[in-house]
């Protein structure tokens, strides 16, 4: 086994990886930026090294500095987590060159799946269905795209070739809007990725976003750990995930078919380690390959909850060259798990990020509850990194129990100091459509209101506000009277002690 692993990340995922290493008896090395000196991953790791100022490009994205720390500490391996350097081919290659194991796929697999056009061409060759589009044509000019569009059929989606996270993405319903939308998408893609190339894809309506977790070892074994339902998104960002999917679960043959295709897609790029194949699924159960994430996913805990597999520990074993400990037949889904992403954002104010010090926090606990977080009372949430501060995962025997448990856990969770998306998740957990499993990727943006279906207690709210207002006016009156001691505290203590001698 490895003796020491460096974690090239921060926040909850760095903490998650440290935990796996601890359980395996592996020493850990944290790296941190100047504003993260007091972060939980620095406190939990065995060693910690500062790698530069707060902006990511000067710290968490500095391959040279991270490798320097790895060499200095004689780390055997590096875990990239997600985000930052996790899907950078050059980082995986640099680790390899430095003789340090990269806990993830080979640089060639990252490259093949990282360029979406190449990815789609590769999996198509392996017989994996993709959404009809211009991906295989390479970089087309606007006139060429406009000429091809009618063959694909409107509505269409413009996507950035180098894209991700919804940037450079545009939906086009009417043919006459295409040329304007292309220009806007290219501008956005150019600004975000330094690459203005875009492609066209058929817009699958009523689509669900369902992904398969796969594990592949260096001995040619590839298995999947079932699916995750990720249709609940806001601005193309996932907000809540569950496993299994309420859409796939009643159809075991669909799961088997999709799982097989997912393994095939991974094998097409000689994939090793943990990865995720994302599919779009329409109402007729037709599914299309969307992309592959060549890293650990934010939402991996829901899969861990229903399969009992510790994915991060499995990643480390695979990187060490061990054989998978499971065959496909060993994997079965037990019960149901839901994950809510708790972001430092104000759901009542257009999800504006909220920064500041966490004054106090009470974590939900009890049966079936897991919290993965990187913050604690006293920690400063800075504006430099993404707003995910915690993940709340609840397991239940069935979907109903998992949802009721999540409602209970959200009610227990207290975070004071920054605004969070907890009330947003409470509203989802009460939504009839969510409970019935009737939702697609448009649900939150088109058919969801923060104040639907809630039991209202206006009188209690009025009493609370009045009591606080009353308390504040009383306190304001007292502050005027509160004088400082007329003498120094040292003198005062001296007098006090003499008096009590």
């Amino acid at each position: 086994m490895f003796k020491k692993v460096l974690i090239a990340n921060r926040g909850e995922i760095a903490v998650r990886i440290i935990r796996a290493c601890r359980e395996l008896g592996i020493a850990t090395v944290a790296v941190y930026s100047e504003v993260d000196r007091n972060a939980l991953h620095v406190r939990y790791a065995d060693e910690a090294y500062s790698i530069g100022p707060a902006p990511s490009r000067e710290s968490y994205l500095r391959i040279d500095k991270i490798l320097d720390v790895a060499r200095k500490t004689e780390s055997d391996a590096i875990h990239p987590g997600y985000g930052f350097l996790a899907e950078r081919e050059e980082f995986a290659a640099a680790c390899e060159e430095a003789g340090i194991a990269y806990i993830g796929p080979k640089p060639s697999a990252i490259a093949a799946m990282g360029d979406k056009a190449v990815a789609r061409a590769t999996v198509t060759k392996a017989g994996v269905p993709v959404v009809p589009g211009t991906e295989a044509e390479g970089s087309l000019r606007d006139e060429e795209i406009i000429a091809i569009a009618p063959q694909i059929g409107f509505p269409v989606l413009i996507k950035a070739t180098a894209g991700g996270g919804g940037k450079g993405m545009r939906e086009v319903i009417r043919p006459e809007d295409l040329s304007g939308a292309l220009a806007a998408a290219r501008r956005e893609a150019e600004a975000a990725f330094g690459d203005g190339n875009v492609y066209l894809e058929k817009l699958v309506t009523g689509a669900r976003h369902i992904e398969f977790q796969i594990l592949a070892d260096t001995h040619g074994n590839v298995i999947h750990l079932g699916e995750r339902e990720c249709s609940l998104q806001r601005r193309h960002q996932k907000v809540l995930e569950e496993s299994p999917s309420p859409f796939v679960d009643p159809h075991p043959e669909l799961r088997a078919r999709m799982g097989e295709v997912a393994c095939k897609a991974a094998a097409a790029v000689d994939y090793v380690n943990a990865g995720t194949i994302e599919f779009l699924v329409d109402k007729e159960q037709s599914f299309y390959f969307l992309e592959m994430n060549t890293r650990l996913q934010v939402e991996h805990p829901v899969t861990e909850a229903v399969t009992g597999v510790d994915i991060v520990k499995e990643q480390i074993r695979i990187a060490r060259g061990r054989k998978l400990r499971y065959t496909q037949e060993d994997v079965s889904l037990n019960g149901w798990a839901v994950e809510c992403r708790i972001n430092a954002e104000d759901p009542y104010n257009n999800f504006l990020p909220s920064t500041g010090q966490i004054k106090s926090t009470i974590l939900p606990t009890g049966p079936g509850v897991r919290v993965d977080t990187g913050v604690y009372a006293g920690f400063e949430v800075s504006p430099y990194y993404d707003s995910l501060i915690s993940k709340l995962i609840c397991w239940g025997e069935g979907r109903g129990e998992a949802i009721l448990r999540m409602r209970r856990a959200l009610e227990e969770y207290r975070i004071v100091g920054v605004k969070t998306t907890i009330p947003f998740h409470q509203t989802i957990m009460n939504s009839h459509r969510f409970i019935a499993g009737h939702f697609d990727t448009r649900f939150i943006e088109e058919r969801f209101e923060m104040d639907e279906d809630r039991e209202l207690r206006p009188e209690i709210a009025a009493i609370l506000a009045t009591l606080v207002a009353h308390r504040e006016s009383q306190m304001a009156a007292q502050i005027v009277q509160r004088g400082e001691r007329d003498t120094s505290n040292w003198k005062w203590v001296g007098r006090y002690e003499r008096m009590h001698r």
Binding site: D386, A465, V468
Partner: protein, 165 residues
């Protein structure tokens, strides 16, 4: 002390005379009210029914987050209420508005210029924070009187970015 507390167009007359009792529209309740964690989080036992809530003041109103629902509540003591009635309840909608940065961040774009007229909901400033681009919008119709930042500027929390007349 008597308060007129308004929420969703309904006004409650609430009387607080000591720490243990409250009278709401003539009905008396026993209360035990405590602040938790130093600020904004409160625990209320109202005739022994237990409630926990975040209560914060924002722009002249109290925001009460209770069991996953946000309420906006206005609280006026008797004196304020009398003054308000005496002034005929005139709502002031004009005046200068200063757009302040809701969080520290980087100005990505300023889609408006000084002197430009804008309508409610127009983007005034695009501010990047936590890897997201946030659109800061005009709260009402008006004219942009002053733009104090440009694209590329780093701004602090509560820094004035632009003003509207």
């Amino acid at each position: 002390m008597k308060y007129a507390t308004t929420l969703n167009d309904k006004t409650y007359i609430i009387e607080i005379n000591d720490d243990r009792h409250i009278v709401v529209d003539g009905v008396e309740y026993a209360i035990d009210f405590a602040s938790l964690a130093g600020q904004s989080l409160y625990s209320l036992l109202l005739d022994n029914e237990s409630y926990e809530s975040f209560v914060e003041e924002r722009e002249e109103a109290w925001q009460v987050l209770l069991r996953g629902v946000l309420y906006e509540v206005r609280v006026a003591d008797e004196r304020e209420e009398r003054l308000r009635k005496a002034s005929g309840g005139l709502a002031v909608s004009g005046g200068e508005f200063s757009l302040k940065a809701p969080m520290p961040g980087l100005v990505v774009a300023v889609p408006v210029a000084e002197g430009q007229t804008v309508v409610k909901g127009d983007n005034l400033i695009i501010l990047e924070s936590m890897k997201m681009q946030n659109e800061l919008k005009a709260p009402r119709d008006g004219t942009v009187s002053r733009v104090r930042v440009k694209a590329g500027d780093s701004v602090e929390h509560n820094q004035v970015l632009a003003t509207m007349a």
